[in-house]
């Protein structure tokens, strides 16, 4: 009997114990779910940003590859068929059909801050003609980087031929957004400690350096400073800057999230 009295209180829990245990359990699970929810929100935001980042990075790689290959085959591969070699590493408009030399970003566009036409043969072993490959910022809101190709044809303007073949390449590219939106981007970027849009101005996607063959082997200079040599045929480097926004604002702060990617393509082929 003595043994039964001693063991009886240990057979269950008092109400106080149960309530305390339940409270602790709820606290822990509540905290865990709260953390999980916030993590899910951040994961969704980050996923979107990473998707944008990934698309932009892949796009950037493709652009660099095309620019590196610009001007293939060069003019020394001259033959009777003008579609089998390039006249210039980069096409231009207007005045290409004549052809009339132009000044980059001044008397011709493309090449320009948001528009570029590369002249190359991306798959020479296939025996196909040289292609015009165009990158242009456009789309409904002016935030889609478009890419299109058209076969080079004698007497044709590359800008006209490629215009009908442009398709979506990278979305949410905000380099040339309206000033009001740039201000909003700037605020969120500045709070994160970065200046994405210097002076609050649009950021060119393409910036060019030109060879200056009039003097002996100088380093390439900005095409605007290259004077008489500032023509698409003399473009050597193309610095690319892509500013991509995530499709939705940050779930916790409500601010747009931006990724700024930079790369440089260098034309290796000679232009003569």
């Amino acid at each position: 009997m003595t043994c039964i009295r001693q063991t009886s209180p240990e057979a269950g829990f008092t109400l106080i114990e149960l309530l305390a245990a339940l409270g602790i359990f709820l606290l822990i699970t509540g905290a865990a779910f709260s953390l999980l929810t916030s993590s899910q929100q951040r994961y969704q935001t980050d996923s979107q940003l990473l998707t944008s980042f990934q698309e932009a990075r892949l796009g950037l790689d493709q652009m660099v590859r095309d620019i590196n290959d610009a001007g293939y085959p060069p003019p020394s591969f001259v033959s009777t068929d003008v579609t089998t070699f390039t006249r210039s590493p980069f096409g231009w408009s207007p005045g290409y059909t004549v052809p009339t030399p132009c000044t980059v970003d001044i008397t011709c566009n493309p090449p320009g801050d948001f528009d570029l036409i590369i002249e190359t043969n991306p798959n020479p072993q296939d025996g196909g003609p040289v292609q015009w490959i165009r990158y242009q910022l456009g789309g409904p809101n002016g935030t889609t980087l478009l890419r299109g190709m058209a076969p080079k044809q004698w007497g044709h303007d590359p800008a006209i031929d490629t215009a009908t073949n442009l398709g979506t390449f990278v979305e949410n590219v905000v380099n040339n957004s309206p000033n009001l939106q740039i201000g909003q981007f700037q605020l969120s970027a500045t709070s994160a400690g970065a200046v994405v849009f210097p002076s609050g101005n649009p950021v060119p996607i393409f910036q060019y350096t030109c060879d200056t063959p009039i003097t002996a082997q100088p380093p390439p200079t900005l095409c605007s400073a290259a004077g008489a040599d500032n023509s698409p045929a003399n473009i050597r480097d193309v610095a690319i800057t892509l500013i991509v926004a995530s499709p939705l604002p940050d779930a916790t702060t409500g601010q747009p999230r931006l990724v700024k990617l930079t790369a440089r393509g260098r034309r290796v082929n000679p232009n003569q």
Partner: protein, 500 residues
Amino acid sequence: MTTTTKSRARQTQGGIALLISIFILLLISVVAIALIVSSGTESALAGNYRSSTGVYYAAMSGLEEVRSRLWPKDPNAFSITDPGFLPSATPLPACSPVYVINHLDSETVTPWIAGSTYADNEFGPEFLTTGCSMPSSPPTARSIWRRSPLRNLSFPGPLYKWVRINGVTERSLNLDAYPYDGTINNGLVYYDGVRLNDQTNGSQVLELTALAVLPNGSQKLLQYLVASTTLNLVFPAAMTLDGYSDAYSGPNHNFFQISGNQDSGDSACGGPSMPYPVPAVGVPDNPDINYVINGNPGPGSTGIPGGQLGNYTGTGSTPSVVRVNLPPNLQTVQSLNQLVQTIVQNADTVIGGPADQTSIPSAMSSSNPMTVVIQGNPAIPSQGNLTLSGGFTGYGLLLVTGTFLYTPDLNWNGIILVIGQGNVGTTSGGGGGSVNGAILIAQIRDSSGNLLAGPNPGRATFNDATTSTVGRGYYYNCSWIQAAQPAAGYKVLSFHEIAQ
């Protein structure tokens, strides 16, 4: 009995605690995994970009190494490190590729073996359709990273695996090179300085293909076409006055001659492109023939003294002053200016003047002809002036962009180009020297250093009529002309990345 009851109670409590612990651990794990996946994706993306860029430059380093080592002046030239690796006197066939191998210590790189780790899968699509087959054991050479002293470095060199060198044909390029006969055949392709051709004009076009592979599997295949670009200067006369309304004043002495005839013992210049004899003096138009012989009253030149007409021998009647067809790179102000720049870029030394014989490198010798340029700021003509005196003897190519003065005891074996002010004269000193090779005089800049509008060059001036002493003159010598041709290395004719 007591023991049994206690045991049951403990078991019940322990089970609940375990379940709660596992549940909480599960929740925390889900959150942790989500965070890890998120950051892991970001790392992977950044890493992919780094790999892509790294492998590109690894392959480029292979191409650039081989392009440089093809040039005999490179300290690691194949002709020095691996004699016999490349044929020296005959072109490299398309069907006989050679490989530069850059393997790590732990691996074997045999690209010619199909199915091997780093097999050359590009050769087949390019050449097997032309009737070629991959040799079972092609010649190989080690990269500079596998040779002393670089192989002793504590870090690996660029991670390219191999570079293939081979000739190319119209068919492998899928191109109808000049002449445009409408057929794409298996003849080797050459580069004449302007365009590709299949007529053996110029130097052979070589194809360099590099494969780079990183440890993470990223790989790239890049390809160059390159060709040797010795300047291959062609001189149509012993002395070429490459200008209009020229001013020539020759010395009135029998000792002085200009000869376009073959020098005794000079047998290297009998090729079809420039058979002996050549004119003694070549000019680009007919009026200048008269100016050279009879003088030009405009600048006050005296021409060839009447008693010395017989000392100008070569093509045509005596005196041999002939209108010549100049090669394209010698015709216009622009092309001559381009030629100057090209020579400057490939010169052994560029000296800012005014300069004299003490500025000329002492390493110059008959076995080591050098390319020497006298040029400072092109806009300041005096910085291109040169005066040679004291019986100086030089070998190679001399380019003077200002005024060139010399005492008649000068001996020069090779090429003298006076392109810029286009002004040559003698100054008092000894006599008896001679120029064996060729001289070309062209004015492409005015006295202020500004480039002439062109297209024709200005007045070329030669004055050897004022000094009391006299040299032996100018003697066309093709051996020295060839020896003095500046080697400009291997030029990149094209580049592209091969999609894999």
